[in-house]
């Protein structure tokens, strides 16, 4: 006989785990952000009852978010860096994914392996590699000096916005290419042939068939790498380590690694999460829709 609780009991440990270590912690951020500070020890005291919440820390954050103030400057900078890095990733990633999906031929397997290798090399190892190359006496400067492009060593690692954006592109582009490749690879060739047969020029076929068919993939992959970039602080710390290029992640990190004002940091986390909620819900929506479609096609 079939027991009703057979399958749910399999899922129970996972559900309990995620409630205790994902949902409750998320609420803890609210409780600390809207909590108070111990008058003697100056440590944060969370308030768990929403009816007693205090909004002092959130006011500090919102005041800092007014145009021209600290958090505003950091926030706009983050938005700028992420936008440029995302554009860079797409400019590099789309052609690569397109070639892999459409033209790689016999080399497809080898190229896919090369494409996947960065996934298995720790992110910080890949940053370490660039630190070595970008040091004042590193390979990049020596090549540029030899070529006569620069006359004295450039300090790439001393608070350069361009270095940070470059590192972000280098760090995140593999995570964009693979999902893009998956989408482009799935496009049926007969659709392209139809576009050509109906008299579309190759360029128009690309514009009106391939591009619209990969639009959702582009959006999903962009969201997938934009979300972690918005919370990134380590790329910046490793490549620049200067307040001149500080991003929102660095700002949050500052409040928790040795900083005292946890409530302000927690409020900043809430503001960031609300801002990213749009991107997150979009990604969740297409993921759930996609998995619903696979289920339909398989049943």
């Amino acid at each position: 006989m079939t027991r009703r609780w057979f399958w749910p009991s399999f899922g129970l440990p996972g559900v309990v785990w995620l409630v205790l270590l994902f949902l409750v912690p998320t609420y803890a951020v609210l409780a600390v952000a809207f909590g108070t500070v111990d008058p003697i020890f100056q440590t944060p005291v969370p308030i768990w009852n929403p009816l007693h919440w205090e909004f002092g820390a959130m006011e500090t954050v919102l005041r800092g978010l007014a145009p021209g103030h600290t958090f505003w400057i950091v926030f706009v900078r983050t938005l700028g860096y992420v936008t440029i890095a995302l554009a860079g990733c797409l400019l590099i990633g789309y052609p690569v994914a397109y070639y892999l999906a459409r033209h790689a031929g016999r080399m497809k397997g080898a190229l896919l392996v090369l494409l996947i290798i960065p996934f298995w090399v720790s992110y910080l190892m890949r940053m370490l590699a660039w630190v070595g190359l970008l040091l004042p006496d590193g390979l990049v400067n020596r090549v540029l000096l030899d070529l006569g492009v620069i006359s004295h060593p450039h300090l790439w690692l001393a608070g350069q916005a361009s270095s940070v954006i470059f590192a972000l592109i280098y760090g995140y582009v593999p995570y964009l290419i693979l999902p893009l490749f998956a989408v482009l690879d799935r496009i049926d060739r007969s659709v392209l042939e139809a576009g050509r047969d109906l008299g579309g020029s190759p360029f128009r076929t690309f514009l009106h068939v391939t591009l619209p068919l990969s639009k959702n993939g582009i959006l999903a992959a962009s969201v997938l790498i934009a979300l972690p970039m918005f919370g990134d602080y380590y790329t910046n710390d490793v490549i620049s380590n200067s307040p001149r290029t500080s991003m929102i992640g660095n700002q949050i990190n500052l409040f928790f690694q040795g900083g005292a004002e946890q409530a302000v940091g927690a409020s900043l986390v809430i503001v960031l999460s609300l801002f990213l909620a749009v991107l997150m819900s979009y990604y969740l929506w297409i993921t759930v829709r996609a998995s619903a479609e696979t289920k339909d096609s398989l049943l």
Binding site: F6, F10, L12, R102, I117, F119, L139
Partner: protein, 291 residues
Amino acid sequence: MRRVRDWFANPWGQPRFLGAFTWLYMIWSIVPVIIAIVFSFNNGRSRSVWQGFSTRWWWGDPYNSVLHDPVLRGALEQSLRLAGFDMLIAVPIGVGLALGLTRWRGYGNRPVNYLMLFPLVTPEIVMAVSLLLVFDHLYHVPFGTEAQILGQVTFSISYVVIIIRGRLLSIGPEYEEAARDLGASQLGAFRLVLLPLLAPAIFASLIVVFALSIDDFVVTQYMSANQQTQTVPILIYQTVRGTATPALNAVASVMVFATLSTVALAYLVYRWAARSQPAGHSALGDIAGVT
């Protein structure tokens, strides 16, 4: 410009420009890492100027080599320890959750599905801060190895669920139904039919969780207590801008070799194990952890 138009012009021809671009990208993405590995064999303190070949930073130097420096060895051991525990805990929980989500169609299904997907889209710093605050103010879990394991398992579960669920959907319910028709109990059908069919996907999840854990920085750093609970990524973060020697490159290289050889081996085992399985997911896709 003509070249650029040419690859649009003939989508089935050989677009040389695009091919060259792709190969350049591959070189750009991998060569820096190879150079960093090469510099771990530098015969000098510099990580950027080549001073001849030596293995002093690997084992030669009695104090500062990977083999002898307790800090470097400690970081390696901590990385591997966390990966081991993460695999042991996250994979069974994730497999269970995937089974519950696919086989059980009740009211709770949809909210649990969202709960499972949320850790995948939450920026890591948000998750790390929330774990830090809840451990600090509510659960009173001391920071260190235990907290690091709890944190890593939390974000690993969702990946396991995605991989296992993909496999479950491609297997379908028929095999189990056949077993039940032939008189197997519900548990028997699960143990004797479904579990062996899931074995390759479970294996792939183990590898993916291993890599997730080894690579993780943010949550692991927030949950760490002191130098004893430092992992290799934390060590890189702390020392890469300072006076680190090529021994840092060496310890990072050990991790690269460990991960790549595990994956390569896993891929071969996976292909061998999945050879007689119903078609569906590509092994490469499962191993890469991409769905």
